[in-house]
């Protein structure tokens, strides 16, 4: 038996299977991207970016209100989620020897695994039921999704800062909290910002918790106790509707959302560049 030939054949076979797997993973990704870009691109014009959701039967219209609403929701969610996540990350990394931290770390892992719709229902119970379907409730739900992501990113980034840098600062007679917020955080700044951007990209596309806690809204921002329009919900509601014009807008919304997330991811990549 010629082992060499068998080995060559096996080698080619494995190579073929690996490429096949790669191909089958890429086909759906690219066909989806192609479909969204091809269909979405034709809907995009100036009106698309400056007009709000059209009423049923109206021609044209745009997603300007949804872009506004999405940015407001993300902004509010970050305002709640980033400080809490950042502080928890600092706690886990800098005060990690306490018994409490093992519990905190475990709970963050659990929170990270909770289905987002459950978090939506939580926000519904806690906020929507008292102040109504509102951007505040949606931002609260999205902030809860952000917290474990920001916490983990902060903890990992801070752990990469060498102990010798902390010791240098402490030996200079700098109090521990000041050492942490100046010397340690500045050494981990880029990695933390990247983590925050990635968590924003994640919540920008969330639809289930937003639907449950805030619901669909066709108008502009009207106060923190009212809903706002949302790109992800536009896709859901418009695509399910029987109206030609709305279905077209769904494709446009999908394209804008993908570009938004892509833009955030690229920003994150650029920021981490040159770190090593």
């Amino acid at each position: 038996m010629d082992y060499y030939k068998v080995r060559v054949v096996k080698n080619h076979l494995v190579q073929f299977l690996v490429y096949l797997a790669l191909f089958s993973a890429l086909v759906p990704l690219f066909s989806m991207l192609y479909e969204v870009v091809a269909r979405g691109f034709s809907t995009i014009n100036i009106e698309f970016f400056i007009k709000p959701t059209p009423t049923v039967g109206e021609i044209g219209g745009g997603v300007a209100n949804a872009i506004q609403g999405t940015l407001i929701t993300i902004g509010l969610a970050s305002l709640i989620g980033v400080p809490i996540g950042l502080m928890s990350g600092i706690f886990l990394s800098e005060y990690g020897e306490l018994k409490l931290s093992a519990a905190v770390r475990f709970l963050h892992d659990v929170l990270n695994g909770v289905p987002s719709i459950v978090i939506g229902v939580f926000a519904y119970t806690l906020i929507t039921r008292s102040i109504g379907f509102s951007v505040t409730a949606a931002a609260f739900a999205l902030a809860i999704i952000m917290i474990p992501i920001v916490t983990r990113a902060t903890e990992e980034a801070l752990k990469l800062v060498p102990m010798s840098i902390r010791e240098a600062a402490i030996a200079l007679g700098i109090p521990r909290w000041k050492t942490t917020i100046t010397v340690v955080l500045s050494g981990a700044k880029k990695a933390i910002v990247t983590g925050i951007l990635l968590s924003i990209a994640r919540i920008a596309g969330e639809s289930a918790p937003v639907l449950v806690s805030m619901g669909f809204w066709r108008w502009w921002f009207a106060g923190l106790n009212r809903p706002v329009a949302n790109l992800a919900l536009n896709i859901f509601i418009f695509a399910m509707s029987p109206f030609e014009n709305w279905i077209t807008l769904a494709w446009g919304s999908a394209l804008v959302l993908i570009l938004l997330v892509l833009g955030i991811s690229i920003a994150a990549r650029v920021l981490t560049k040159g770190r090593y």
């Binding site: 020897e97 060498p162 010798s164 840098i165 010791e167 240098a168 600062a169 402490i170 030996a171 200079l172 007679g173 700098i174 109090p175 000041k178 050492t179 100046t182 010397v183 500045s186 050494g187 700044k189």
Partner: protein, 252 residues
């Protein structure tokens, strides 16, 4: 000569490991005291006990007294942060703050303790860099990153950083072990110069270095202080057999 540190019955532990056993010694002011001994004998732990850096390691514990300027630094109510401002430290590996410029590295101790006046900061940076024999080499590059310097320069930058807060004592933990012979010679010359106005305690693996730079030498072995006295006497006429065997290279 005045006594700067009076160490009484000092014991130190890492968890259940007893690393310093009943150390008693007096350290002279404005002199260089070298701590020598084989690896793991507790040299580094000893100097980290002198500015309360030992206790920042999780599980670390200390008992006994370290009387500094007449006050036991382990007394209740003594703030370790204040102690560390008076007792500076230089580490084994140069550790400048990587995200800061040369200027900011030296000014860090003052800035983070609330000094904002640019004139005071400028003067302190210049004075410290001159004292550390580094000013002439970096005066045109103060805005450059501290990490861009060579190893020997980085170590002198760390010395300047420690001097900027005007300490009374400088603790040095094997400051030359990561440096080449030329950089080592520069640091040693610097240590002699500093001894005019500062109390220096230096841990070293290198016995020749202890002989060259120090006025007093302490020999530690397995966490115990075996012998302590003027450097000449320790090297030329050690009283203890262990000291003699260590100095002549029979073990260690």
């Amino acid at each position: 000569m005045a006594v700067k540190f009076d160490v009484q019955n000092l014991n130190a532990w890492f968890g259940s490991k007893h690393v310093l056993k009943n150390i008693n010694m007096k350290i002279e002011e404005n002199a260089v005291t070298a701590i020598i001994g084989p690896s793991g004998c507790g040299k580094t732990t000893f100097i980290r006990c002198l500015n309360r850096m030992h206790e920042i390691t999780p599980g670390a514990r200390v008992s006994g007294k370290v009387i500094f300027n007449g006050v036991n630094i382990y007394d209740n109510g003594v703030d370790p942060v204040i102690i560390r401002r008076k007792i500076g430290m230089v580490f084994q590996k140069p550790n400048p703050f990587p995200m800061m410029s040369i200027y900011d590295n030296v000014a860090a101790g003052l800035k983070l303790n609330g000094v904002r006046d640019k004139k005071i900061l400028d003067a302190a940076v210049r004075r410290s860099l001159e004292l550390a024999n580094l000013w002439d080499e970096v005066k045109d590059d103060l805005k450059k990153s501290g990490a861009s310097l060579s190893g020997g320069q980085q170590q002198r930058l760390c010395i300047a950083r420690a001097l900027a807060v005007q300490p009374e004592v400088l603790l040095m933990d094997e400051p030359c072990s990561a440096l080449d012979p030329i950089a080592t010679a520069k640091i040693e010359a610097l240590i002699r110069k500093l001894a005019e106005n500062y109390t220096v305690v230096i841990v070293t693996h290198n016995m020749q270095q202890a002989a060259r730079v120090s006025d007093y030498t302490a020999f530690l072995y397995l966490g115990e202080l075996i012998e302590y006295g003027p450097t000449e006497q320790i090297f030329e006429n050690p009283k203890h057999e262990l000291t003699e065997r260590y100095l002549t290279g029979k073990f260690g």
